[in-house]
């Protein structure tokens, strides 16, 4: 029996070695966040160097060049790589400039909601009792609200524009940070070293900064990168509804909205910003997954 199982084991090992070789490129892509880095690298580059990259002025209207299709489609030309819109503006240049809004909104909202959410979650988890009950009911309330409906309402009360988009989005994302951080802190605060820090005379501010924050950092970073895609979609939705970023500022969501009118004759006007939104959102999700796997030692071993 022992030799048989040994042989079987060897054969299986040999087969899986071959499989491993064949899967090498796949494993490489899985191990490193190639796709997110490429997409986000491009988006950030677009945002920082938009005037250098964009082949045309994104606002210049050339009415003779209206609704030109992308370069690869019939009737397209390399002058307008991704075609032109109903006012004859270069779509590629507009995508490049639109990335500025995306990057700004993502940076501001994710940072602001991570910071407020983390702090509120720490307060609730560490102090417990009535404060916890109060803060967590606020979180429940926030999560139970239909974000888009309420966002539309808020955005129409406030004036459309970048600042208010950021405020509305932060109002709807801090709660998930708070909830997750609270759960983490509930276990961290029971650690002996936290008790000993208190026994050493540390106040709560010190305990938050020295003992709790390092412990929740991983979680916050993973959630932050996952929230990136939600934020992008939220911003695009608001802009699409005309309640977010308004013309003349270029945003992908607003491009979608404008393109909708000519959709039947110029598919690219909705397809291209749609694909851009899809790609950066996907990249955010994939990066979040990768970060979670990398930071979690349990998953790392099996990967």
């Amino acid at each position: 029996m022992s030799t048989e199982t040994l042989n079987l084991g060897r054969r299986r090992a040999a087969r899986s070695a071959g499989l491993r070789g064949a899967l090498a490129p796949y494993r490489f892509v899985r191990r490193y966040p190639i796709f997110p880095v490429v997409i986000w690298g491009a988006v950030v580059l677009f945002a920082l160097a938009a005037p250098l990259i964009a082949p045309a002025d994104p606002f210049r209207q050339v009415l003779t060049d209206r609704l030109l299709p992308p370069a690869w489609a019939g009737g397209g030309s390399l002058d307008h790589l991704l075609g032109t819109d109903h006012l004859g503006r270069d779509v590629f240049s507009r995508i490049v400039y639109g990335s500025r809004v995306t990057v700004t909104v993502v940076l501001l909202t994710v940072t602001a909601s991570a910071v407020t959410g983390t702090f509120i979650g720490m307060l609730a988890g560490y102090f417990g009792g009535p404060l916890d009950a109060l803060l967590m009911r606020a979180v429940d309330f926030q999560i139970a609200l239909p974000a888009l409906l309420f966002g539309v309402m808020l955005a129409s009360v406030l004036e459309p524009g970048l600042n208010n988009v950021v405020i509305v989005i932060v109002l709807f994302t801090w709660a998930s940070f708070a909830r997750l951080v609270r759960a983490e802190v509930l276990s961290l605060r029971e650690r002996d070293y936290v008790l000993l820090a208190r026994a050493a005379g540390a106040g709560w501010q010190r305990i938050f900064a020295r003992h709790l924050l390092p412990g929740v950092m991983n979680t916050v970073m993973v959630l932050g990168s996952l929230e990136v895609s939600a934020v992008i979609i939220f911003e695009s939705s608001l802009s699409f509804l005309g309640l977010g970023i308004v013309p003349p500022t270029v945003s992908w969501g607003a491009m979608l909205s404008e393109g909708r009118e000519s959709m039947s004759v110029a598919w690219w006007l909705v397809a291209i910003p749609g694909i851009a939104i899809f790609l950066v959102a996907l990249a955010g999700n994939l990066f979040g997954d990768w970060l979670r796997d990398t930071l979690d030692p349990h998953l790392r071993r099996s990967a």
Partner: protein, 362 residues
Amino acid sequence: MTDGVAMAERSEQSAAWRSGAGGDELLIVRNLRTHFFTRDGAVPAVDDISFSIARGEVLGIVGESGSGKSVTARSIMRLVPLPGRIVSGEVWFKGQNLVDLTESEMQHIRGAQIGMVLQEPMTSLNPVLTIGDQVGELYRHHPDRAPRGRSIRQAVLDILARVRIPDAARRVAEYPLHFSGGMRQRVSIAMATACRPDLVIADEPTTALDVTIQAQVLELLLELRDEFGVSVLFITHDLGVVAKICDSVAVMYAGRIVEYADVESIFERPRHPYTRALLRSLPQLGKRLPRLPSIEGQPPDLGALPRGCAFAPRCPSAIDRCREAEPEPTAIGAAYVRCFVAADELLQAGLRTTPRGDGHAS
């Protein structure tokens, strides 16, 4: 029982034990009650306990798991975890009642005047901070307690050298994972004593260590006591350790101190049936037994204590009264025992100095 005369002589000794230390009490705990308010009602984790510690004294609190030892320690520190709360009682420390202090006043006492060491060296240090950072934290919280004319780093090196961490200058920059259990416990002791506190509360500091390391850590604690006159509240369930280092002992059962006396009395003339049973269950060198005696039954559920004495259901000497009423402490000098049967024995021996039910010795 044993003859009355012999008991009388010894009892005078135990009375002398407290009155000798009487003038210099560092910590006096009086009728302390800490209850946990759960959904199923209040759980008396610590119920009406009283004891005191003189300067330089080592008091051992013994008892099985869940008897309220750690809650006692955390009540003194005012670090009772939720949903627990100190319900009543006093904790007098250097002339102030800690129960009445505000949280920020307590922060000046914790770490500076009362240090704490916990059981598990593997979890009592923060894994992401260096040893030097963690010990130095004490001086950052209590700058007035840092040695004059020394930088924090120098002070940290001094204290690490004193708890005999070899090569301290190199090791301050290392993380807890580089340290063995025994070394970590030394670091914990360094942290607990860095500010030269008057009292160190050690909550089972040797339970998680192997025997040789245990001995070294105990040695170290005693040395620090001799050197600085620190008092130690030593929580353990190891009676061997108690015999080795304690001056006095409080035996806890189900949240109460059932017997409180100097260490010789506890080991030579235990009065409470529970103390006697504990001592009987100790293995003895040179004595062969078919089976080590153990205490029948289970410790009671604190949420549903039986009427009368909490130990009565397991007690070999229980009488009817034990199941009806709860015994109050019977004083023998400064020592006391909470047991009707023991009180009767004392009465027979002509030893009871206060009528039963007359509250505490103090």
